[in-house]
């Protein structure tokens, strides 16, 4: 490849960055325009450092970051574009809305920084707020906005300047569960409408699975696994991936305390009606040799398709009628003498099943 003729309208980053004496981030990212990549990881994995590096708030130690073919940071050639000259939109964790400015002034901030006259900037910001249904709170200060409103103002503030790259740092984590589900759909729409590359930083596997085409699992400053949500769910390569990304994620239709899946029906603890998103933690699923006593309502016979030992824990993939990943202790596995191909019963307490309303069009 010849220098200078890189014709890639996306984000290319291959870098090493350091924060403080102890933390080192080593990362290779390639996000084509129009696609969303999620960086999934626990606290302290380097997610926010990644945001800072891409936004220009922290220079890389070595490597290179290019956006739309323009090199933003490359210490080897002494190149560094400061944040205000990069065209990167960021939705920060906790949003960081300016408390002394109204919602509309917050949205207009980026436009005014780019020398747009005050009146025009405010008009465009007001248009944005109207489009996302926040006209009535446009004159409020962040302290008077709800969590959901703040999140949408923050998103509008990042998008109104039409950035070349969109960075979302835990955009939904500060919200309560019901607001989160609703705003996740909004966010999916906005992402759909954003033409550039998008990077979603999250610790929530559901969010990553629903919003991103590709997931990088980030642990202790390194990417430990890359793939689709299914890749990670079914073949987690680390303990963390297994813990978090291994959640069973299903879609179905709920009515009368039950949810109908493709070929199966589960009892659920909520009275939600309609399309729902169902999550079941692997550790919430128990495996038995015989039909469990007291017969919990969610129990059925199946066959073990796969057994993976991960230290003291064992992950078991069950076969039809419902492919699930269960996790039990090594001791229990040995006590039951479980092997691949064995006929077993699985059981899930209804209270252990997570149900979120209105999942239509989220899982494609």
């Amino acid at each position: 490849m010849v220098e200078g003729v890189v014709d890639r309208s996306g984000l290319e980053a291959s870098l090493v960055a350091r924060r403080g004496p102890g933390f080192r981030l080593e990362l290779s990212l390639s996000i084509p325009s129009g696609t969303t990549v999620a960086l999934l990881g626990p606290n302290g994995a380097g997610k926010s450092t990644t945001v800072d590096v891409l936004a220009g708030l922290l220079p890389v130690e070595s490597g290179r970051v290019t956006l739309s073919g323009v090199t933003l940071d490359e210490p080897a050639v002494g190149r560094f574009v400061p944040p205000e000259q990069r065209n990167v939109g960021v939705v920060f964790q906790d949003y960081l809305l300016f408390p002394h400015l109204t919602a509309v002034e917050n949205v207009a901030f980026g436009l005014r920084s780019r020398r747009l006259p005050r009146e025009q900037a405010l008009a465009r910001a007001a248009d944005w707020l109207e489009r996302i249904g926040l006209s009535d709170v446009s004159q409020r200060r962040p302290g008077e906005l709800s969590g959901g409103q703040s999140q949408r103002v923050a998103l509008a503030r990042a998008l109104v300047t039409e950035p070349d790259l969109l960075l979302l740092d835990e955009p939904l984590s500060a919200l309560d569960v019901t607001t989160r589900a609703r705003l996740r759909r909004d966010l999916a729409e906005h992402l759909e409408g954003f033409p550039g590359p998008r990077l979603l930083i999250t610790h929530d596997p559901t969010e990553a699975a629903l919003l991103a085409e590709q997931i990088h699992v980030l642990e202790e400053g390194r990417v430990t696994q890359t793939g689709s949500a299914d890749d990670i769910r079914l073949r987690p390569r680390t303990r963390y991936a297994a813990d978090l990304a291994g959640s069973n994620l299903l879609m179905g239709k709920a009515s009368g305390g039950r949810v109908a899946l493709d070929v199966f029906e589960l009892h659920i603890p909520s009275q939600v009606e309609g399309e729902v998103l169902v999550t079941i933690r692997p550790s919430a699923i128990s495996v038995h040799r015989r039909q469990p006593e007291g017969s919990p309502r969610n129990s059925w016979p199946t066959r073990i398709e796969l057994i993976e030992r991960m230290g003291e824990r064992v992950r078991i993939r069950t076969g039809p009628p419902l492919v699930l990943t269960a996790e039990i202790t090594e001791g229990a596995t040995d006590a039951l003498d479980l092997r691949e191909g064995d006929e077993v019963w699985v059981a899930i307490k209804a209270t252990e099943i997570g149900v979120e309303a209105g999942a239509e069009s989220e899982l494609s």
Partner: protein
């Protein structure tokens, strides 16, 4: 729907009795001297005393010099606070200590130090006078300088604390929105520390208005040129208590008025 509030005392409806007693003692400490001042005020003589040259000259001089000192403190004190709060440099804690020096130093000593440094025979004052003919002692500029020296720490300390408490990620957010460093400072940093800035400026101004020791030591005492209200009060106390009391009343009235107006206009809004 009817309002069915449980019969419970609103939290904070009645503050603890101990706090009330101690708080009132604190207030009394301020009010008692004020009462003494008012009790000694020659009310019938007041109009004549207040319109005298001595009072009007001192009032005019005090207002101009204290406001100029506050302005200078804002122009050089805020950047100093920013540097101490935001820039890592060797000897930073020493600089922090130096800034608070005028608070610890008796003002008279501060005035003497200014004299040794910037006086006509002073370390810097002598070459300065030789080069520019500028002599600071016994001039109104000298009063402003003494006021600034003594009062600026209030601004620097207040603003520095506010800057250190400010979440710098707000400034980072502004940068990602295309704001250069100057725009960030003007549109994010300063507005966000606004209340502290106003509080610091107010304290600075109040301290400058009441400045006595450094002023009389460095700038001397001459009506219309360097005799501010506190100096006029002090000299008047020697011979003419009525004038001294009248002057003190003017000081109290001016400072109370300004502080109350500021509180209404700024601290409430922010």
């Amino acid at each position: 729907m009817t309002h069915s509030k449980p019969e419970r005392r609103r939290p904070g409806a009645r503050p603890p009795i101990v706090l009330i007693i101690l708080g009132c003692l604190g207030l009394a400490l301020f009010l008692i001297p004020l009462a003494g001042l008012l009790a000694r005020t020659p009310w019938s003589e007041l109009p004549r005393l207040l319109t005298g040259d001595l009072v009007t000259d001192a009032l005019r001089l005090s207002l101009t010099t204290s406001l100029l000192a506050t302005l200078i403190a804002a122009v050089i004190g805020v950047p100093l606070a920013w540097l101490i709060a935001r820039v890592e440099f060797p000897g930073r804690s020493l600089v922090r200590g130096v800034v608070t020096l005028p608070l610890v130093l008796p003002p008279v000593v501060g005035g003497a130090a200014l004299l040794f440094a910037l006086g006509r025979r002073g370390l810097i004052g002598e070459p300065l006078a030789g080069l520019t003919g500028l002599v600071l002692p016994f001039s109104t500029s000298g009063v402003v300088l003494a006021n600034t020296f003594v009062a600026m720490p209030f601004l620097v300390i207040t603003v520095e604390a506010a800057l250190r408490n400010l979440d710098h990620r707000f400034e980072a957010a502004a940068a990602t929105l295309g704001a250069g460093r100057w725009t960030v400072l003007r549109r994010v940093t300063l507005p966000m520390i606004g209340p502290s800035l106003v509080a610091g400026l107010t304290l600075t101004w109040a301290r400058a208005l009441g400045e006595f020791g450094a002023t009389i030591t460095f700038a001397g005492n001459l009506q219309g040129r360097t005799q501010t209200l506190p100096l006029a009060v002090f000299v008047a106390l020697e011979s003419d208590r009525d004038t001294a009391v009248a002057l003190s009343l003017v000081m109290v009235a001016v400072s109370l008025a300004v502080l109350v107006i500021l509180r209404e206009r700024w601290w409430k809004a922010l």
